[in-house]
């Protein structure tokens, strides 16, 4: 396929994945491709990245799509045909002999076919031990060929093949084995610091090997199915579009990583807005002082900027199973920008309610505070199924008097009340006293008020119910709040 066609497919896929690629950027990429040869794959990748990806959070998505579209390019990335003799093979043969003991492995000729999985695992261990990159790559290729059991046209995802390959190599126990072997090899006792460093080193090597295997599987899948189909199956949402309620563990990690820079940006933006919000009355003294440099002409009027009061915030969050992740992220978010509020108090509930402000007060580490909320807060009253009605009632009884005209109350949850009494009068009372009452719901709008969800009943008494499924929506809401 000519590069140009490949490029247009590639860029279309980037746009499908949600990256904002404009027409100028597209043209720039075409220009860049002219001066960088496609054979130099790394340089080529960086050239495309520099022209097309303008946000570091999007880099991983870009990388995956790049791999899919350009993985079959360049000589060293071609799929190794079976039995093809090259330098690696000879080297591997030597290694194999060492593993099997002298002489035994000689003349087997058929490459890895004659090796048992254990022997390959042993070779892999040796390669990992020495950090032998070339060997690791060759082994990744071979083990995919042997263990993944890939068949053309089989409608199975890449993760299945990955699992099969890694299971055969017993990679889960590899780290332990490497550490043991390393301990035996070194003469004197390793200090715990050294041991820790060794462990990190091995971990990163194993991770690298895993990526090699993954890349190899992807290459084969692309060769089989074509780039477009493959890109479609691999398509993943950008971190800010991942839904809280359905995030996998990996996605949770990337969400967490994305959260901090997001809050930092938001805090900077809000602080700036606060300072430069509106123009106030003329500052006479300041104006006169500046007029001196224009010979007494007040050419540069200066104004007093009003400093609006910061709102007080009360966050009341449901932390029962299904919405726990959402509550956690919202709490993290709010506390990360807490200097934008004059005071933040937080409460969590399932069917009982507890104040958790103290956990955040006592430590600087928000992550740790959240963990303590999950383990120490007293939130179960009867059976540990969400009961909004009871929780709200108790909340109002205990803390209702603290709600005043400066307070903004945030209610978080899906309002799935397990058919308990709604007690929506509490929300109505809150609204009478508070400045604002908002409800954030992590469910898609179309699910609201279905089944046992009674968000409409509560929502009628609030100043607004907002869908808050991902970081982007959460950020948008908080920005308007502060």
């Amino acid at each position: 396929m000519p590069v140009l066609d490949l490029m247009s497919g590639f860029i279309a896929e980037l746009r499908n994945a949600g990256l904002p690629v404009s027409l100028t950027e597209n043209l720039d990429a075409m220009e860049a491709v002219k001066v960088i040869p496609i054979e130099d794959r790394d340089a080529f990748k960086y050239a495309l990245g520099a022209t097309l990806v303008k946000n570091n959070a999007h880099w991983r998505v870009f990388e995956t799509i790049f791999e899919v579209y350009f993985s079959l390019r360049g000589p060293e990335y071609e799929i190794n045909q079976e039995g093809q003799p090259d330098d690696f093979w000879r080297e591997m043969q030597d290694q194999m002999d060492q593993v099997k003991g002298q002489g035994e492995g000689k003349g087997s000729g058929g490459g890895m076919d004659s090796l048992t999985p254990e022997e390959i695992a042993a070779m892999l261990m040796r390669a990992l031990m020495n950090g032998d990159q070339a060997m690791m790559r060759a082994l990744a290729k071979q083990s995919v060929q042997r263990f993944a059991g890939m068949e053309p046209g089989r409608p199975v995802g890449g993760t299945y093949y990955l699992y099969r390959t890694l299971r055969n190599l017993d990679l889960d126990n590899m780290l332990q084995k490497l550490m043991d072997a390393n301990r035996e090899m070194s003469k004197q006792e390793l200090s715990s610091l050294e041991e820790r460093l060794e462990k990190d080193e091995f971990e990163s090597r194993i991770e690298q090997f895993k990526q090699e295997v993954e890349a190899e599987i992807r290459r084969r899948l692309v060769a089989d199915r074509g780039a477009e189909a493959m890109a479609k199956t691999l398509r993943k949402p950008l971190p800010e579009d991942v839904e809280f309620m359905h995030a996998s563990r990996d996605e949770m990690q990337s969400l967490k990583k994305a959260l901090y820079p997001l809050t930092r940006k938001l805090a900077a933006r809000l602080a700036r807005k606060r300072r430069h919000g509106r123009k106030g009355p003329l500052d006479f003294r300041n104006t006169v002082r500046h007029s001196l440099s224009y010979g007494g002409v007040p050419a540069d009027p200066k104004f007093r900027y009003p400093r609006p009061a910061k709102p007080e915030l009360m966050v009341v969050a449901d932390i029962s199973g299904s919405v726990a992740a959402f509550a956690r992220f919202t709490l993290m978010f709010v506390y990360a920008i807490q200097n934008q509020f004059s005071k933040v108090r937080s409460f969590v509930f399932i069917d009982g309610i507890d104040e958790v402000t103290k956990f955040f007060k006592s430590t600087e580490d928000i992550g740790e505070a959240i963990n303590r909320v999950n383990s120490e807060a007293d939130v179960v009253w009867v059976d540990g199924h969400s009961d909004y009605g009871h929780a709200f009632e108790v909340f109002f009884e205990r803390y209702g008097k603290d709600i005043n005209s400066k307070t903004t109350v945030l209610l978080l949850g899906d309002a799935r009340n397990n058919y308990h009494a709604a007690q929506s009068w509490v929300v109505k009372e809150m609204r009478k006293r508070a400045r604002h009452v908002y409800w954030l719901n992590p469910e898609p709008k179309s699910y609201w008020n279905t089944g046992d969800s009674i968000v409409g009943e509560y929502g009628a008494h609030t100043d607004g119910v907002f869908e808050c499924r991902n970081l982007r929506q959460l950020e948008g809401f908080v920005e308007n709040l502060a």
Binding site: S22, I36, A50, V53, S192, D200, K265, D365
Partner: protein, 288 residues
């Protein structure tokens, strides 16, 4: 215009001569910037050598470095140009009778009364120039618009004088600490480069080049410990400059191999938050 660099490798070796160790990405983007005549927007954590890259490129090409430090409240008169009001006033008052209105008018809006600021200076300069617009995320979104004309057309329009076009296309670097999202318009005009913490090998090399007389063994240990620390969930991960500070400290203390105790005692050079230090100290002393 003649390209400055032959290929990516030239950029890389050239930067190395200036004691800047670039990886493939960095060298590639600098090369592209020259070929396509586009500015480079560099983002990344603090202390990873973003500003240094611009300086090193200037030294490598033997160009003059013109630097515009951005801050909140930066405006046209500080970034682009300003009319010298005081001088204009003097000119008007100097001979009130002789000149007609139109003469005075034409006269006080001539280049003599123009104060050039960094951006205009970079464009009007005869000799080769590297323009560094530092911490561009500090200016307000509205002020960013000032940069757009110069970044895409390499020209500045002054209403009273007309458009001043660049005599030579300067290499432009913008750095950002990512405290806010830059506008699409700005990003679109730039090549994007994200400079992250270096990998193990590169960090070790950086320590070896920047800290004189350090032993290979110690540099290796330093790079590995720093990598382990960066993997932790910290408020502020150690930057390259902090790694270098640490390396220098260890050299001063005459330490040849780092053990646990020394590592813990000097952690405060790498990390600047008490919670981070406690976390790292705990992690480094626990085996598994």
């Amino acid at each position: 215009m003649k390209p400055r660099f032959k290929d990516v490798a030239t950029v890389r070796s050239g930067l190395k001569k200036e004691n800047y160790l670039a990886d493939d990405g960095i060298a590639g983007v600098v090369y592209l910037a020259d070929r396509l005549g586009k500015p480079v927007l560099i983002e990344g954590p603090a202390g990873t050598g973003k500003t240094q890259l611009a300086k090193s490129v200037a030294e490598m090409t033997g160009a003059r470095l013109i630097r515009l430090q951005c801050y909140e409240g930066l405006d046209e008169s500080k970034a682009l140009y300003e009319w010298n009001y005081k001088k204009q006033l003097l000119r008007i008052q100097a001979d009130k009778k002789s000149d007609s209105w139109s003469e005075v008018h034409d006269d006080i809006f001539s280049e003599e009364f123009l104060l050039t600021r960094p951006l205009l200076e970079a464009i009007t300069s005869e000799e080769p120039v590297v323009l560094l617009i530092d911490e561009v995320d500090r200016v307000e979104v509205e002020t960013e618009a000032l940069l757009l004309e110069i970044l895409s057309e390499y020209q500045v329009s002054i209403p009273e004088l007309g458009t001043i076009t660049a005599k030579q296309i300067p290499l432009v670097f913008l750095t950002s600490n990512n405290t806010r999202e830059l506008s699409e318009a700005l990003k679109r005009r730039c090549l994007y480069l994200h400079v992250d913490y270096p990998d193990l090998e590169r960090e070790k090399e950086i320590v070896l080049t920047k800290v004189p007389d350090i032993s290979e063994n110690l540099a290796d240990q330093i790079a590995r410990i720093v990598r382990s620390i960066r993997q932790l969930d910290l408020k502020k991960a150690p930057s390259v400059s902090e790694t270098l500070d640490w390396a220098r400290t260890l050299m001063l203390l005459g330490i040849e191999t780092i053990d646990e105790k020394e590592a813990k005692e000097t952690l405060h050079i790498l990390l600047k938050y008490q919670t981070d230090i406690a976390k790292a100290a705990k992690e480094l002393s626990v085996t598994k």
